[in-house]
């Protein structure tokens, strides 16, 4: 499959109905690889559905759904190796799971429990694990971009063979951090992929109100970098482009990938997307562009799949998700006294004094509660 930068139309490996759009053999993927990708798509959809239900049930306070964008995350995260670093945003949990974050840890994150590797310190929009090189994201849009470049610069200085992938949305490309980060990476030849999940909305603001360029990928030109415009709902195309760009990154060539996709949910559980989406748009994407169905149709076409296998997979995934959620729910709330931990490596004398104040406050509250 030929992969060119700066195309007018998104790069595709599959037609919308799942028929091959390119010579599939040229992707160098096995049937097992295809099945593994499909399983990840289904699994991420199931995790996301559960997260959303938790908010509806009042068990979680916040959730940013990723449904509709599974192929962008699965396709871009699968080429990563253990030594690669991942900087996410509030809609990259699928990639984090592929990188090794446990589903139970993800649900603990959503619930704010101790099992969450960030121990309930972040709003549930992305956890992180040092050992997996997943950096927990902040909520300030775009900040992860220059950070990710710094990590990629360090990887190059240390010649460790690793690279960095940095996720962000279409809205983030209006932030200064995007431009500063792209410029730094290009100047230093940093091993990084800038991965933009263009779901066409920054909360309510549509892409054409966000930028005057036709694509986001073409912004790479301004930094002397290649930009790839890929169909973000085509897991095979995203994989092929990401694999190519990961190899380029390891050779000191940073790239920008724009994955053109669509989110099914509102921006977050606090948003009302009926206020800004035109009628019928969501329905069109769900029924005609769905990334999971598209891969399923591809597998059907290759006689790799059938209804029986589908049912078995759905049951398996359902059980796995339920077990992960159960494990998360068994995990306790973080101990209130730990609120003063992790500001610095060691508590300063001031924090020690505040800890004494809090201990007294907690003891008094407990006594009053007992009365």
């Amino acid at each position: 499959m030929e992969i060119k930068p700066f195309t007018d139309k998104p790069i595709k490996a599959l037609e919308y109905d799942g028929r091959p759009a390119v010579d599939i053999k040229s992707l160098g993927l096995s049937d097992d690889d295809f099945l593994k990708m499909y399983r990840w798509l289904v699994f991420n959809r199931a995790v996301d559905d559960r997260g959303y239900i938790m908010v509806r049930q009042g068990r979680a306070g916040f959730y940013a759904q990723t449904s509709g964008q599974e192929a962008s995350q699965v396709g871009s995260a699968l080429p990563l190796t253990a030594k690669d670093w991942l900087y996410g945003d509030h809609r990259s949990q699928g990639s984090m799971l592929i990188k090794g974050l446990k589903p139970s840890e993800w649900f603990a994150h959503v619930l704010g429990r101790q099992l969450d590797p960030t121990q309930g310190r972040l709003m549930p929009h992305g956890s992180g694990r040092r050992d997996l090189h997943i950096v927990p994201p902040s909520s300030t849009v775009g900040n992860q971009i220059t950070e990710a470049v710094g990590t990629a610069m360090a990887q190059k200085i240390k010649k460790d063979g690793g690279m960095t992938i940095c996720y962000f949305g279409d809205g983030a490309t209006s932030e200064g951090d995007f431009h500063v980060g792209m410029n730094f990476a290009a100047v230093y030849g940093s091993p990084i992929i800038f991965f933009c999940q263009n779901n066409q909305y920054a909360i309510s603001v549509r892409l054409e109100e966000q930028t005057h360029t036709k694509t986001i990928a073409e912004k790479a030109k301004a930094y002397g970098m290649e930009g790839y415009f890929v169909d973000g709902n085509d897991v095979l195309a995203v994989y092929a482009v990401s694999k190519l760009c990961a190899d380029k990154a390891r050779n000191g060539e940073p790239t920008l990938i724009e994955a053109y996709t669509y989110r099914y949910g509102p921006h977050s559980s606090a948003d009302d997307d009926t206020r800004y989406r035109p009628k019928g748009e969501l329905e069109m994407w769900r029924t005609q562009r769905d990334p999971v169905n598209r891969m399923r149709a591809f597998l059907d076409g290759r006689k790799l799949w059938n209804q029986e296998k589908e049912q078995k997979l759905q049951t398996e995934v359902k059980e796995e998700v339920a077990a992960a959620l159960h494990e998360a729910e068994q995990s306790p709330q973080p101990d209130p006294i730990t609120v003063l931990d992790y500001v610095y490596e060691r508590r300063t004398p001031h924090l020690d004094r505040e800890r004494e104040e809090l201990a007294a406050e907690l003891a008094a509250t407990a006594t009053q509660g007992a009365k």
């Binding site: 902040s138 300030t140 900040n143 500063v180 931990d341 992790y342 001031h350």
Partner: protein, 333 residues
Amino acid sequence: MATAEVTKKQTQFTMVQAVRSALIDEMKADADVVLLGEDIGARGGVFLATEGLIDMFGKDRVIDTPLAEAGIIGAAVGMALYGLRPVAEIQFIDFLYPGFDMLVSEAAKLRYRSAGQFGVPMVVRSPYGGGVRGGSYHSQSPEAYYVSTPGLKVVVPSNPYDAKGLLIASIRDPDPVVFMEPKKIYRSIKSELPEGAYEVPLGKAAVTREGKHVSVITYGAMVLLALETATAMESDGVQVEVIDLRTLQPYDTETILKSVAKTGHVVTLQEAPRIGGYSGEIAAFIAEHAIEHLEGPIVRVSGWDTPFPYALEKAYMPNVERVRRAIKKTLDF
């Protein structure tokens, strides 16, 4: 050239030479220490704090950056997360604001938000302060912003010896440090420096001059003004104690309380504007914990609550007369 001076066993160092000496010692000792900033390579930094370092350590470790402070701080954060110990130079601290978000939203919060998994061992070095005819954008003292951000440490040396020891301690510290260098005294005073690396511990103040009537609590370039005032007031029979905080966050409460218990009078001295300034924290702390020792009001001496002026700099900067009047005010109460 400064490199040659070091090999000739230089013993008298200006502050900027002390800073350079600290960088050299730490870069030799630890391959993870890297420098990044504007003009720090061939130019050696606009104040020459990194002069010759690119030749000694190469451009992988002395990194000239594009002109974007947000990128400098952001890249330093990412390097530190990875495990390097970046020391970023911001040419003037007045230009740190584009990197402010990366410092307060990222560097300061990453350890906390990762529940201790990730540390950000980085230093942001930057010249600060007035008295150099630098006008509004080459003279600011913005320490209050950084001090009020949990997760950051803030260090301000007042002499070459402390500058080297505090900078080495900051580079070795596991958490992000804003290291403010008083550029007014970059070259005006010299200290005798021992050979090799040494630390001046963070969080420890110094009693720079002992006195029994009034404690002047200050830091950075203002320490010299406090000492000058103390000398000037000797003839009035007033014995001024000068406390050099050295680290503003975390700060040394013990030394402050001990001094207040002895003198019963406090003047705080900073060149930053007064409202919301760092001295307010010191004054509040003393009022909360040592009011029984106070025999007069805590008086704050500061710059005025204005932007920093150019031609009117002299009228803005604290001076002996301003400090003297404050001391009189609390002693005559």
